[in-house]
Symmetry: C2
Subunit: 374 residues, 2 copies
C-alpha cells in the first residue's frame, strides 16, 4: 500500500469512529474529497454538514481516550478483532453496491475471510417473535444451503436470525453475524455463546468500533449491511412493518433477489411475507430449491458483471497469476488439485482464488473453481 | 316460448341425457346446427362424430326406459328437481363463457333462483385431504362472504368444499353445490344431509340426469361448471396436481380471477397453492379482503360488459319494465321498498330484478339494487 493509500485507510478508520453509519451526506463528501480531506475539513469547520460540530467533538473525545498515541488497530487487536476498509484485500466487493452508504470500515472477529465468504452467501432474516414453524424453516434451509458451501448471513437476533445461524453451524457450514454494536458487545446478551461460535468458523462483522453499544437506529443501518453481504435475501417470517421487511427493502434497492416464505394466513408472523409477495416485492419461496434457483441466477449475472471490471492478467499479483495459470481450460478444479498444480500452499490458493473470483476470472462451483470463459 | 324454441329446448334436454358433459366437438355441432338437427343427424348417422354410434345406442336405451312416452321433466319432478336450458329465464348468463363446453341442460334441486345466486357468487374449492388450518380458512371466509350476500359455489366434496358450504350455511347465507352425478345421487354419500341442507336454501346443480352415478372423468367436467358459476375462484389448499388446481385452470381460461391461500411450506396440502402463486396463475390471498377486492373488480368489469348487450327498455316484458320504472335514479333500493314502489309481489320483484341485473339495467349491491348509469 502506498503512503497516500495508508493515509486514506487510516482516515477512513478514524471517520468510522465518529460518523453515524449509513449517513448519505457524509458518504457523498468522502466520495468527492477523500477521507483525509473530510477529516481536515471537519477540523476546520468547512464540511457544511449539519452535524459537523458534534462530529468534531466526538473526534476530540475519541483521540483524547488514548494516553499517548491513538491506535485503532491496537484497540481492535485488544478484543481479537481486525479492521478492514476498501483498501484491504478482505473487503467484500459487493459492498460497493451500497454507493453513498458504503461503510467506511468494518471490524471483524473470526477465523474466515469475509470477502471469500460473502462471494457465496445468502441472507436469512426474520422476526424475533417467530413461531416454531418459522424457526424450523430457517434452521433447515440454512443447514441445507450451508451444507452446499453457501455462507448464511444474518443479524444474531432472537428467533429467525438465531435459527439460521444455528442451522448453518449444525451443518458444519459458515455463517456471518452482522452486529449493530461493536464486535465485542454481543447483542442480545443471551446470544454471546452463539456469537462466539460464529466467530470460531465464520465472521462477526460490525461497522462500529469495539465497545460501541447498540442503538435503535443502528439496527436499521445494520440491516443494509446484511442485505449487501448476501447475494439474495430470504425473509422467513416477518410482521408487516419490521426490521426483516426493512432488510428486504434494502436488498431490493440493491437489485438483489428477495424471497419470502409464506405461512398460515392465520399467523401474524407471516403477514409481512404475504404482503411482500402480494406487492411483488418478494418472490414466494416454498422450498429451499427456490432459493438455490435465485442464487444461481445472481451468480450468473454477477460473474458477467464483474467480468467487465476485471483487470488484465498481467496486472495480477504473482500469487494470483500463478494460481490462474494452474487452472485447466474447461474443467473445474478442487482446492487440493490446485495446491498440487500451482505449487502454492492451501492458504495461498484459497486467498488467491478468492481474489480471482471477485475479479471475475474464476467462478466457485460445488466441486471447485472454474475459469470464466470470455 | 315459441314452438320452435320449445322443440330446441326439449332436444337439448334429450342430448344432455346421452352426450358426455364438456365434449367440445358435440358443443360445436350443437352451436352450428341446433340441438334438434344434431339429434336427427345422430339418428341418421350423419354427424361425423367419432362416438356417434354409442350415443345412438344410449338414445335408444334412454327412450326405451319409459313405458309409454319418455318425459324427462316428469323424471326430474319425481326427484323434486327442475331442468333448465339456455331457453329458460333461470339459466345463468355467465355460463356462456364456457363456449363449446357450455352445458346443454342443468338439473336443479333447491329453493333459490340459480341465475340470481350466480350473479353474486364466488367459488371456494380445495383438497379433500385438507388440514384443520385449511378447513378453518375455508369455513370462516365462506361465512364472511356469505354474510355479505355472496353465494358460495363448491363441489360438496370432503375437506375444503364441505367446509365452504358449511361456513355459508352457518352464516345464514346461500350456497351452490355442483355434483358430478345426478342431483338425486348425493356424493360422497356421507354428505347426503349436507347436500339436503344446501338444497333447502340454495341450489344443488348437475349437468347429468337424475340417477346418473358419478364417474371419474365427470369430476373434471364438473369442475369447469364450478369455475364458470363463480365470479372468482379461491383455492384454499391443493396438492400440485389436483381437482382444485384443475378448477383454478378452468377459471383462468374463463378470465375469472383465481386466488390461492398460502400455508406452511412444510404442509403438502399447500404445495399446489404455492405453485400457482409462483407461476403467476393465482393471486396470493392472505385475507378475505383480498377476495372481496378481486370480486369488486369483476363486478365492475362485468356490469360494463353486459351494459352493451342489454336490450331496449321497450323490449322488456311488462314485469321487468314495471320494476325498472319503480327504481329511483341514483339511490339503491331494497327488496321491501321495491315491492312497495312497484306494486308487485316479492317473488315477482326478485325474479324481475334478476333479469334486469343479468341484462345490465341494475347492479346488486349490499343494500339492494341500483340503476346502472349509461
Amino acid at each position: 500500500m502506498s503512503g497516500a493509500a495508508t493515509g486514506e485507510r487510516s482516515a477512513l478508520i478514524t471517520l468510522a469512529h465518529v460518523l453515524e453509519p449509513g449517513d448519505e451526506r457524509w458518504g457523498e463528501l468522502v466520495a468527492s474529497w477523500g477521507a483525509q480531506q473530510v477529516l481536515d475539513r471537519i477540523q476546520r469547520g468547512q464540511t457544511g454538514h449539519a452535524h459537523e460540530e458534534g462530529v468534531r467533538a466526538r473526534l476530540a473525545h475519541v483521540r483524547s481516550r488514548a494516553e499517548d498515541r491513538w491506535d485503532p488497530e491496537q484497540d481492535a487487536a485488544r478484543v481479537g478483532a481486525r479492521i478492514i476498509t476498501s483498501h484491504d484485500r478482505e473487503w467484500p466487493s459487493q459492498l460497493s453496491a451500497l454507493g453513498r452508504t458504503t461503510p467506511l470500515a468494518l471490524w471483524l472477529l473470526g477465523a474466515a475471510d469475509l470477502r471469500l465468504l460473502a462471494l457465496r452467501s445468502v441472507a436469512i432474516v426474520g422476526a424475533r417473535a417467530c413461531t416454531a414453524y418459522g424457526e424450523e424453516v430457517s434452521r433447515t434451509w440454512a443447514a441445507d444451503l450451508a451444507g452446499e458451501a453457501w455462507t448464511i448471513v444474518s443479524g444474531a437476533a432472537f428467533g429467525i436470525d438465531a435459527a439460521a445461524h444455528r442451522g448453518a453451524l449444525a451443518a458444519g457450514g459458515t455463517t456471518i453475524a452482522v452486529l449493530a454494536g461493536g464486535v465485542d458487545v454481543p447483542y442480545p446478551r443471551a446470544h454471546a455463546p452463539l456469537i462466539d461460535a460464529i466467530a470460531d468458523s465464520g465472521v462477526v462483522v460490525s461497522e462500529s468500533p469495539p465497545g460501541e453499544q447498540v442503538r435503535r437506529h443502528r439496527f436499521l443501518s445494520r440491516n443494509r449491511l446484511i442485505a449487501a453481504l448476501g447475494r439474495a435475501t430470504v425473509v422467513v417470517e416477518a410482521a408487516v412493518r419490521s426490521g426483516a421487511a426493512a432488510t428486504a427493502g434494502d436488498a431490493r434497492s440493491l437489485s438483489r433477489p428477495v424471497l419470502a416464505v409464506p405461512g398460515p394466513v392465520t399467523s401474524p408472523a407471516s403477514f409481512g411475507c404475504h404482503r411482500m409477495i402480494q406487492e411483488g416485492e418478494a418472490l414466494l419461496a416454498s422450498h429451499v430449491d427456490d432459493v438455490r434457483q435465485a442464487l444461481d441466477l445472481t451468480a450468473a449475472s454477477s460473474s458477467s458483471a464483474v467480468q467487465e471490471r476485471r483487470t488484465g492478467r498481467d496486472a495480477l499479483p504473482a500469487r494470483e497469476r500463478e494460481v490462474l495459470d494452474a487452472m485447466p481450460a474447461r474443467r473445474s478444479m478442487s482446492l487440493d488439485a490446485l495446491v498440487v498444480a500451482s505449487g502454492r500452499s492451501p492458504g495461498d490458493v484459497l486467498a488467491a482464488a478468492g481474489v480471482l473470483v471477485a475479479e471475475g476470472w474464476l467462478v466457485l462451483e460445488a466441486d471447485g473453481w472454474r475459469l470464466v470463459r470470455r
